[in-house]
């Protein structure tokens, strides 16, 4: 009977199976290794420089040279208020509990279209404003073309 089986096999089974065992071995090693090293939370940083004694004077000279456009954005508990010489913006009140980021971006873009070289913005939050909101506002400023964000308060 065994002989019969064996003969049958040799005759009918011409297709050969690929030997997948080495592949499985590689997978089994690679997957735990990659799972251990995987970073599921990606972290970034936002850079803020405080004026130091040495650099402060230099920075002020720079301001005089560049004829800088002063843009001040205050974050209040009620909403935003953008101030800049030559512009008059309405205060942007919250819609419900959400700050009005879209309109803020529009206002900043208006400044940007008139003064293309303006890159600095001063954010001045009220003391109770949450950190999350400050970061979100800074993101909006960066999107609108003001990469040099400084905090005041």
């Amino acid at each position: 009977m065994n002989l019969k089986n064996a003969m049958n096999r040799t005759r009918s089974q011409d297709d050969v199976d690929v030997n997948i065992i080495p592949v499985m071995n590689i997978f089994l090693l690679l997957i735990p290794f990659l799972l251990l090293t995987a970073a599921f939370v990606k972290i970034a940083v936002l850079e803020i420089s405080l004026p130091s004694l040495g650099r402060g004077a230099a920075a002020q000279e720079e301001i005089k040279q560049k004829n800088l456009i002063l843009v001040i954005l205050s974050i209040k508990e009620k909403g935003f208020q953008v101030k800049s010489p030559g512009f008059k913006f309405d205060p942007l009140n919250k819609i419900g509990t959400q700050y009005n980021y879209n309109e803020l971006k529009n206002q900043l873009k208006q400044i940007k279209t008139r003064h293309g070289h303006a890159e600095d913005i001063i954010i001045s939050p009220e003391s109770k404003v949450k950190y999350d909101i400050i970061i979100k506002t800074m993101d909006q400023c960066r999107d609108a073309g003001f990469p040099n964000v400084s905090l005041a308060g």
């Binding site: 690679l30 090293t37 599921f40 939370v41 990606k42 972290i43 850079e47 803020i48 999350d132 979100k136």
Partner: protein
């Protein structure tokens, strides 16, 4: 009972013929799964490793910032404590009730750090005092608290402040 049952079974199916079956694992689906997993993990693999570790009770704000973190000392601000490199330096309640902007506990810690890194800087030129510090703040902390921490950093001489955030695509 058991033995009886066993016997009964034995009676019902007497003498099963032993078949010469070749058992082979069906690995195809498992390999499919592994391949998908492997591709996903390779995609998220970064050779840099994580410089920054974030403590559990800290919920970082989300931002579209793209700059990757640099190695620096870390101030973590949770809802209860201000920590400098993992050590508690000042409780938040106390900090909030301070009238001035300077936080004494934090200032002491930062001063120590500064002296250490300056001493190291004198010995080898490469690793000096850079004035860089990263702040990991909880989403919910008020600006007042952040302002006090930042002011303290600035007073000691840490002027390059890196605010740590989680990246969103």
């Amino acid at each position: 009972m058991n033995t009886f049952n066993g016997n009964a079974k034995f009676m019902l199916y007497p003498r099963r013929r032993k078949k010469n079956v070749q058992v082979s694992l069906k690995l195809t689906s498992m390999i499919d799964m592994f391949t998908i997993l492997l591709v996903f993990l390779l995609k998220s693999f970064s050779a840099e490793g994580q410089i920054v570790t974030v403590s559990q009770d800290l919920r970082l704000p989300e931002s579209t910032a793209q700059k990757s973190p640099e190695p620096a000392s870390t101030i973590a601000i949770t809802e209860e404590w201000v920590l400098l490199d993992g050590e508690q330096v000042a409780p938040v309640n106390e900090v909030m009730s301070l009238n001035k902007l300077m936080i004494p506990g934090l200032a002491d810690g930062l001063n120590n750090l500064k002296t250490v890194s300056e001493t190291v800087g004198q010995m080898s030129g490469e690793m000096g005092f850079t004035g860089q510090i990263s702040i990991q703040g909880d989403k919910e902390i008020p600006y007042q608290l952040l302002k006090k921490v930042m002011f303290t950093c600035g007073q000691i001489g840490y002027n390059d402040i890196l605010l740590t955030v989680t990246k969103i695509e």
